[in-house]
């Protein structure tokens, strides 16, 4: 079963060959994937912001950012630089401690969740058995940060925005978790690696989206709501709440919210990819292709090719979903807060429950197709 490139083993082995004890060489390995993932997430964020601006511009027949770098591709970096140099203001009547901790609490869970993002069989920071459950648990911490910053700003718009964000997060977490549960039931494991493994082998036909179309739609809607993307961006609804909980923030603290929201969107898109679109699997099963060509699984060149193809496939699917999210942003009008809660509690929740039941029934009756 263990196919694919094993960077960790190779790295530790080579260090041990140099004469280092195994404990030290493992310690030297440990920060590497984390740093790589943080850098990857940040670069992904820059690409995402650029894409958002360019696609938005295209949808409105504008040109979009043009001058910073080729095709304006450095615009996001320039924006970030501007935010770094901006004055960091804490309003006089604000609660300065909570005001500072709030954005940190918002951004931390998002980055920690990248712990379970897989790009290949062994290309993951840590294959925790909890996997997807860890992501759900961590994303439930975010509303505390939002409430905290909303409260600490000492501004009615901030407070209302924070309350709305928390209400939205809580109510959409349930259909999200139920949709995930159906997938977990089919793969008998919560580990992201196992979930992708269960979809592998048949190329595009094996992906969960064919077995869980309803779950896919529920998950996507709930994920958009969790990320506060349009049409669910009520906590920041400009016309009603100025900028919601971000109203009083400026400089890097505002940037933390901004980064958190975009990295969260990226993460959600990756999770949709992992859960429903076969993760790093290509539409044509690559390992079978290699088998037909008579290449053994241990061929190092083949391993490098499949690993990079896996990373590229994951990113391709992820950005395809991001594109859909951006297109939706310019297509759908914002829902009202009561419509939002109605949709969450009265539509998504029952449908997700029915989906779960149907999945359970299918798993018992058709074990070969739905993971016995």
């Amino acid at each position: 079963m263990n196919s694919g490139i094993d960077l960790q083993g190779t790295f530790i082995n080579s260090l041990q060959d140099l004469g280092l004890p195994p404990g030290i060489s493992k310690l030297l390995w440990m920060p590497l994937p984390m740093i790589l993932m943080v850098i990857g997430a940040t670069v992904g964020l820059l690409v995402l912001v650029w894409l958002e601006r360019k696609i938005s511009a295209a949808a409105q027949q504008r040109v979009g950012p043009e001058y910073a770098g080729p095709q304006g591709s450095l615009q996001a970096a320039v924006d970030g630089l501007k935010l770094i140099f901006k004055e960091d203001i804490i309003p006089a009547k604000a609660d300065s401690a909570l005001f500072t901790i709030g954005p940190i609490l918002v951004i931390l869970p998002v980055f920690i969740s990248y712990l379970v993002v897989p790009f290949g069989q062994n290309l993951i920071i840590s294959d925790v058995g909890l996997g997807i459950f860890l992501w759900i648990a961590l994303s439930s911490v975010q509303p505390i940060g939002l409430l905290m910053s909303g409260y600490a700003s000492n501004n009615k718009y901030s407070l209302l925005g924070g309350l709305r964000a928390a209400a939205q997060s809580i109510s959409y977490e349930i259909p999200l978790a139920l949709a995930v549960l159906a997938v977990v039931m089919m793969s008998n494991s919560m580990s992201t690696i196992d979930i992708v493994q269960q979809q592998s082998g048949y190329g595009i036909l094996g992906w969960n989206i064919w077995r869980q179309p309803v779950g896919f739609v529920i998950f996507w809607i709930a994920a958009l709501a969790e990320c506060e993307r349009l049409p669910f961006d009520l906590p920041e609804a400009e016309e009603e709440l100025v900028a919601g909980y971000q109203t009083e923030y400026s400089g890097m603290k505002f940037a933390l919210f901004y980064i958190a929201s975009y990295v969260n969107l990226l993460l959600s898109a990756i999770m949709v990819t992992v859960l429903y679109l076969g993760g790093w699997e290509s539409p044509i099963p690559l390992d079978r292709l290699a088998g037909w060509l008579g290449q053994p699984e241990t061929n190092p060149i083949l391993q490098v090719i499949t690993a990079s193809a896996g990373i590229l496939m994951t990113l391709f699917k992820t950005y395809l979903l991001v594109f859909l999210a951006i297109l939706m942003r310019w297509t759908l009008p914002r829902v009202r807060i009561d419509q939002l809660l109605d949709l969450g509690w009265k539509f998504l929740l029952p449908v997700a429950l029915v989906n779960l039941l149907v999945t359970a029934a299918l798993k018992i009756s058709l074990p070969f197709a739905f993971g016995g």
């Binding site: 909890l130 439930s140 409430l147 409260y151 407070l159 309350l163 209400a167 919560m190």
Partner: protein, 204 residues
């Protein structure tokens, strides 16, 4: 002591200090919002301790349920009913603090001696780790089936009760009949719309 054990010890000390400090602060801070946020810190530290005990599922559930749901609900309640009120100073108010401290100290001593004197049957088998989910599920559907079902029925009752309380379908009409026009509640019972003929505008 190797590296892993050292890391565990340090994390244990940090988590314990964080938990005890935050728990004390929850009780002692006069600002109720701070107490609520610190409660979240206590829960998180507890999740960290579970993690050290190799019970990762319980830790994640702790985060999800206690930090993500219960603590947020507490915060909600506090923020929606954030009524600042200056209480009139009461004479001999300090006696209350002393009495509270006495009661709490007594409880602490009682529990502490109980913990120390009880012969704990310490289990030397290794923790289940990631297998814990399967074991938990098995227990839920075999020997703990009745409590599990009872809890679910209780939750269902609470859910229905909350809906009944929140709907307010009948109460205003009853009051109307009894007292007349002047004492109406500002809320009116909502007209029940048949689910079939609802269009997007009418969904409220």
């Amino acid at each position: 002591m190797n590296l892993a054990e050292g890391v565990q010890l340090v994390s244990f000390i940090i988590l314990t200090v964080m938990m005890l400090g935050a728990a004390l602060a929850v009780v002692l801070t006069p600002n109720i919002v701070y107490s609520a946020f610190l409660l979240g810190a206590v829960f998180s530290a507890m999740a960290g301790l579970y993690l050290l005990l190799n019970a990762s599922f319980v830790a994640a559930a702790q985060i999800l349920v206690y930090v993500g749901a219960i603590n947020v609900l507490i915060l909600f309640a506090i923020m929606l009913v954030n009524k600042r009120e200056d209480f009139a100073p009461v004479k001999y108010a300090w006696t209350r603090k002393i009495v509270t401290a006495g009661v709490c100290g007594g409880l602490f001593l009682l529990l502490g001696t109980t913990i120390i004197t009880t012969p704990w049957g310490i289990n030397n088998t290794a923790a289940a780790g990631d297998e814990a989910i399967y074991i938990l599920g098995e227990h839920f559907f075999t020997d703990f089936l009745l409590p599990f079902e009872l809890v679910s029925v209780l939750l269902l009752m609470a859910l229905i009760g909350a809906i009944v309380l929140a709907r307010r379908d009948i109460i205003p009409d009853l009051i109307d009949v009894a007292t007349g026009e002047d004492l109406k509640l500002p809320e009116r019972p909502r007209e029940l719309i048949p689910a079939g003929s609802v269009d997007a505008d009418e969904v409220t």
